[in-house]
C-alpha cells in the first residue's frame, strides 16, 4: 500500500513513460497491480499455476501497451488481459489432461505456522489462534474447490462481480459478452456455489475472523 503523499503516478503517465522505454515506469506498474492480478489468477487457475499466468499477463501488458487507449479504464483492460491469459491456460491444461482441471493448490506460499494462501495477508489477532486459522484454511479450501467446479466463464463472472466488485457493464467489457450473458452466468454460478458452500453459510455470512480484509 502506498501513502497518500507518495502514491503511484497516474496510470496514463506510467504507460506513456513505458512506451518511451522507461523500465522503472513498467516496474512501478507491475508493483502497483501485480497483487490484484495474482489474487484473481489464483481464483481462476489455482495457486500452483498463478505465478506463471501472472508473468504471462504482464508480458502481454508490456507488448500491448501501445494499444491502450487513455480514455478507457486501465483496470478493465488489465483484467481483460488477465482473464484471457487464465482461460488460455485452462484450455491448454484441458488439452493436455483431457478432463476437469482441479484448482486446489498445496500450501501455496505458506511458511510453517503461517497462514495458508487463503488466509489474511496482514497480521490479525484472531488469526493467531490455531483453531481459527484452521477454520479459515478449511473455508478457503472449500471455496477454492467450489470455484473449481464451476465452468471457466461462470467462475470468471462470479469472481469479478462478487469478489472484485466489478459492475455488470464492466464485466461485459472484460469478457466481451452481452449484459444478459453476464446476468445469467452470475445467476447459475451463485446457485451452484450456494449448494456447495451451504454448510459454511450462516445468517451473517461472515468469515470465521470477522474484520478480515475484503478483496478490493
Amino acid at each position: 500500500m502506498t501513502s497518500r503523499k507518495t502514491g503511484p503516478p497516474p496510470v496514463g503517465d506510467l504507460i506513456a513513460r513505458c512506451l518511451t522505454g522507461d523500465v522503472r515506469a513498467f516496474e512501478t506498474l507491475v508493483r502497483t497491480h501485480h497483487d490484484q492480478v495474482y489474487g484473481y489468477a489464483c481464483r481462476m487457475v489455482g495457486p500452483d499455476a498463478a505465478d506463471d499466468v501472472v508473468q504471462e499477463v504482464f508480458l502481454r501488458v508490456y507488448r500491448s501497451l501501445h494499444t491502450f487507449r487513455s480514455e478507457s479504464d486501465f483496470k478493465t483492460w488489465l483484467y481483460r488481459i488477465t482473464t484471457n491469459a487464465c482461460l488460455d491456460h485452462l484450455r491448454r491444461m484441458r488439452r493436455q489432461r483431457g478432463r476437469f482441471v482441479p484448482l486446489e493448490g498445496g500450501g501455496g506460499h505458506a511458511d510453517e505456522g503461517g497462514p495458508a494462501w487463503g488466509g489474511p495477508e496482514r497480521p490479525d489477532p484472531g488469526a493467531v489462534d490455531p483453531a481459527l486459522r484452521a477454520e479459515q484454511r478449511e473455508l478457503a479450501e472449500a471455496l477454492q474447490a467450489a470455484l473449481g467446479r464451476l465452468s471457466d466463464h461462470h467462475r470468471a463472472v462470479l469472481v469479478l462481480h462478487d469478489m472484485y466488485g466489478f459492475r455488470y457493464d464492466e464485466i461485459k467489457d472484460i469478457l466481451r459478452c452481452s449484459l444478459g450473458t453476464v446476468k445469467s452466468r452470475l445467476f447459475y454460478a451463485r446457485r451452484a456455489l450456494r449448494e456447495q458452500l451451504r454448510p459454511y453459510l450462516d445468517a451473517a455470512g461472515d468469515w470465521p475472523a470477522s474484520g478480515a480484509s475484503s478483496v478490493s
Binding site: 523500465v23 513498467f26 516496474e27 507491475v30 508493483r31 501485480h34 497483487d35 490484484q36 495474482y38 489474487g39 489464483c42 481464483r43 495457486p47 498463478a50 505465478d51 501472472v54 508473468q55 504482464f58 508480458l59 508490456y62 501455496g108 506460499h109 494462501w117 487463503g118 488466509g119 489474511p120 495477508e121 479459515q136 478457503a140 471455496l143 462470479l158 462481480h161 462478487d162 469478489m163 466488485g165 455488470y168 446476468k183 451463485r190 456455489l193 450456494r194 458452500l197 451451504r198 459454511y200 453459510l201 450462516d202 445468517a203 451473517a204 455470512g205 461472515d206 468469515w207 470477522s210 478480515a212 480484509s213 475484503s214 478483496v215 478490493s216
Partner: protein, 143 residues
Amino acid sequence: MDGQLPGPVRARVRSHLVRCAPCRRELAELEALRQLLAGAPAPPPPPGLAETIVGHVRFREAERVRRRPRVRFWQGAIAGGVAAVLVVALWWAGLDGLSRMGHGSAPPAVEAALMEHSLYASLLETGAGDWVDWALVPAGDGR
C-alpha cells in the same frame, strides 16, 4: 440484490418477499454467499513476485529482439536468391533465343558456317580430328 432492477420491478419484488417465506430464505442465502465471497481474504502473492515478473518480461523481450536480425538475414537471402534466379533465367532465355536464331532461322550460308564452326569446336575439344593443310578435319577424312 445487486441493485440492477428498475424501480417498479424492485418494488414488486419487495412486495412479494413480504408474503413469500421460501423466496425470503433464498434471498438471505444469496446475501450470505455474497458476503462470504466479498469477505474472502485475497491470496497474497509470493515474496519477490514483482521482481520475477519484471525479469521475465525483460528476458522475453531481449530474446525477441535477438531473434529479429536472423529473420532479416533470411529474408535478404531469399530475396537475393530469387533475384539471381531471375537474372539467370533471363540470360538463359536470351541465349536460347540467340541459339534458336542460329538453328533454323538464319540464311543457309550462315547456318552452314555455324555448323562447320560447331564441328570444328567439337574436334578441337575431343581431339578426334587430324590437321591437314592447316585445317582440322575428322579423323580418317583426308582432303
